[in-house]
Amino acid sequence: MDWLTDNKIPLGNWMRTFVDWLNDHAAFVFYFISDVFGFLIDGLIDLLLWVHPLAFIAALAGLGWWLHRSIGLVAMTVLSLLLVVNLGYWADTMETLALVLFATALCMAVGVPLGIAAAHRAWLYQVLRPILDLMQTIPTFVYLIPTLILFGLGVVPGLISTVIFAIAAPVRLTYLGISSAPKQLLEAGESFGATRSQMLWKIELPHAMPTIMAGLTQCIMLSLSMVVIAALVGAGGLGKPVVRALNTVNIGMGFEAGLSIVILAIVLDRLFKQPERRAAR
């Protein structure tokens, strides 16, 4: 047994050397990304905070009515968000919302095309599958360390970690939706002379839409679950009071901040959930 432990493979060293090398030689790339994303998120936060909370709540209520035509949903949205304002967590909630929206947008922008490409190329899915599994199962803290080194303290490493964690959902669900398009619908499209892009836009994507939307809501929820962890590396928002409450053993603050996260999660989930699914065939 000794020979096995004596000759330790220096995996950890290799990884550290690799990250160091990246940091030495490609730092400007990461700083550039960090600056751009940081600028965009700060802009989004400023925008959300610029709107008066009551106007914002009214707008969300309007959106809820337009999408779902449900009095209950609108009432729930208004009351729960008013509670957040009352508790004094509105600014933190907006910061978290900005982070979540930005991370979700990034995930969808990368994940949906990737899912479509994987559905069309079997080899790509074979390559992607273990990578997606890895990204979902590897503990967040493990890649939080290198992202922290590469992107510096702040909101961006939190964002990157969130994207790594959440992107698997849109990729997988887009893949599932596109590749489950019934053969006969594809044949119908082909037989009427549809080009490849027409097949995608007129048959595959409309068929996959409910599944892709499920990917969107999942992505939002996964992003929200990363809020506290993002706060550990310096991202603002509702995670910050939670972390602070943890450090100071402040039950009250922890509860209030946690409740705000839950409220945001429920409101976003109900708002973006696919409105009444049309019975497929």
Partner: protein
């Protein structure tokens, strides 16, 4: 790339020695096929499935060609070669586009797309309607793919929906419609393409028998005005016989017989076809000329008279041109004029014991209707000449088949067109 054109109708689709192999090793499979191996042996050796082998068929413009066989016989596989849904492994599939014939097996993507948008439209067994689109949007799908502007599209869609009687449903979704209505949408979608060739892959098989019958009738009625070339896949011989101008019977990927419905009913090429035919209802398929007893074998009496039915003693007197003029229905009766057959609506008014003169292409069903009304033999005439007679014995023979037919009533041997066999 040219085909010999015949005087009457041009060739619309020409299958020449078509082989379709599904799988990864088509070359090897073709070798084995040429070596005379059968489907199972080829599948065991290569893992490939032989869909179609050495199919040669010619479909004329304006006719309905039915590809008929059990499931797995390759009929759908062959159909799908016409618009390239299946790839032809070897052979040619020539499709008429305007005055030229395009080989689908060889053509490039652009030509294939052109063919699919303008020449060949398709109707599917499970309808294949897009569930997120309304009926009107489904019908307009093909036009949308061609980039035709919405306004123009809407006109065509409205016209085609009216044609299949669904204008009131244009804003419904497919799942809100019954199966029969869904397939009408499928038909309208194919018609909207304005393609001269229509592929129908078991279009009515998923429907219940009453609706199926109704849609068959509607299709035949529409075909009267549309005059498209239709290739129709079916596993139901009665359907094939009803719809088809010609029928190709397929078995294990091969075309075992190709001919008119009557030809197939009368002269099955092998035991497999004969087995099919044995379970078919011949009443709508067989025509006067193929079930009648020819006039040559009837007993001639003096004075240009013929004993058409010995059992009842019915005698027909011919006129100078050889047509039936008067008839004596029973030995005792006075001669009365032969009644010229006008059409089914006349049957109810026929007097008992009237001898009717009917054209050679009268269906067996009509002959039976007449016989039921008159209870007298029917004289079959062609170009004003009496060529044969149909009595109850001929009707029984038509239903029961030719086995055990008496020697004095030989069944037509070459069974080509109905007229040929009886031309005196």
């Amino acid at each position: 790339m040219t085909t010999p054109t015949q005087s009457d109708a041009r060739t619309a689709v020409d299958f020449r020695h078509v082989d379709v192999i599904f799988g990864k090793r088509p070359k090897k499979a073709l070798e084995l096929l040429d070596a005379g191996q059968d489907r199972d042996a080829i599948q065991a050796a290569t893992g490939d499935v032989v869909g179609v082998c050495d199919a040669t068929l010619e479909v004329k413009e304006g006719e309905i060609c039915v590809l008929m066989g059990l499931s797995g016989s390759g009929k759908s596989s062959l159909l799908r070669c016409v618009n390239g849904l299946n790839t032809v492994t070897r052979g040619e599939v020539l499709v008429r586009t305007g005055d030229a014939m395009v080989d689908v097996a060889q053509c490039n993507a652009k030509t294939l797309r052109q063919l699919r948008t303008h020449t060949v439209a398709m109707v599917f067994q499970q309808f294949a309607l897009l569930p997120w689109r309304t009926v009107a949007e489904n019908v307009g799908f093909g036009l949308e793919v061609q980039g035709i502007p919405k306004k123009q599209r809407d006109e065509v869609v409205a016209e085609k929906l009216a044609m299949v009687g669904l204008d009131a449903w244009k804003d419904s979704y497919a799942h809100e419609l019954s199966g029969g209505m869904q397939q009408r949408v499928g038909l309208a979608r194919a018609f909207a393409q304005d393609a001269p060739i229509l592929l129908m892959d078991e279009p009515f098989s998923a429907l219940d028998p009453l609706i199926r019958n109704k849609l068959q009738d509607e299709l035949l009625e529409l075909q009267q005005t549309l005059k498209k070339t239709i290739i129709f896949v079916s596993h139901d011989l009665d359907e094939a016989m009803k719809i088809g101008s010609r029928i190709a019977i397929m078995e294990s990927g091969r075309v075992v017989q190709y001919g008119t419905p009557e030809d197939i009913a009368l002269n099955p090429a092998d035991a497999y076809v004969a087995d099919f035919v044995a379970h078919m209802n011949p009443v709508n398929v067989l025509r006067g000329a193929s079930i009648m007893t020819p006039v040559e074998v009837l007993k001639r009496l003096s004075g240009g008279r013929i004993l058409v039915e010995p059992a009842s003693g019915t005698v027909v007197k011919l006129d100078a041109e050889g047509g039936a003029a008067t008839a004596t229905a029973t030995a005792a009766a006075e001669p009365s004029p032969v009644v010229e057959y006008q059409g089914p609506e006349q049957v109810a008014d026929l007097p008992a014991h009237a001898v009717v003169a009917a054209p050679a292409d009268i269906t067996m069903r009509e002959a039976m209707e007449i016989h039921r009304a008159t209870n007298a033999p029917i004289v079959v005439q062609e170009d004003g000449k009496a060529v044969g007679v149909i009595g109850h014995r001929e009707i029984y023979q038509g239903i029961l088949g030719r086995e055990g037919a008496p020697e004095d009533a030989p069944a037509p041997q070459d069974g080509k067109a109905a007229g040929d066999t009886s031309a005196a």
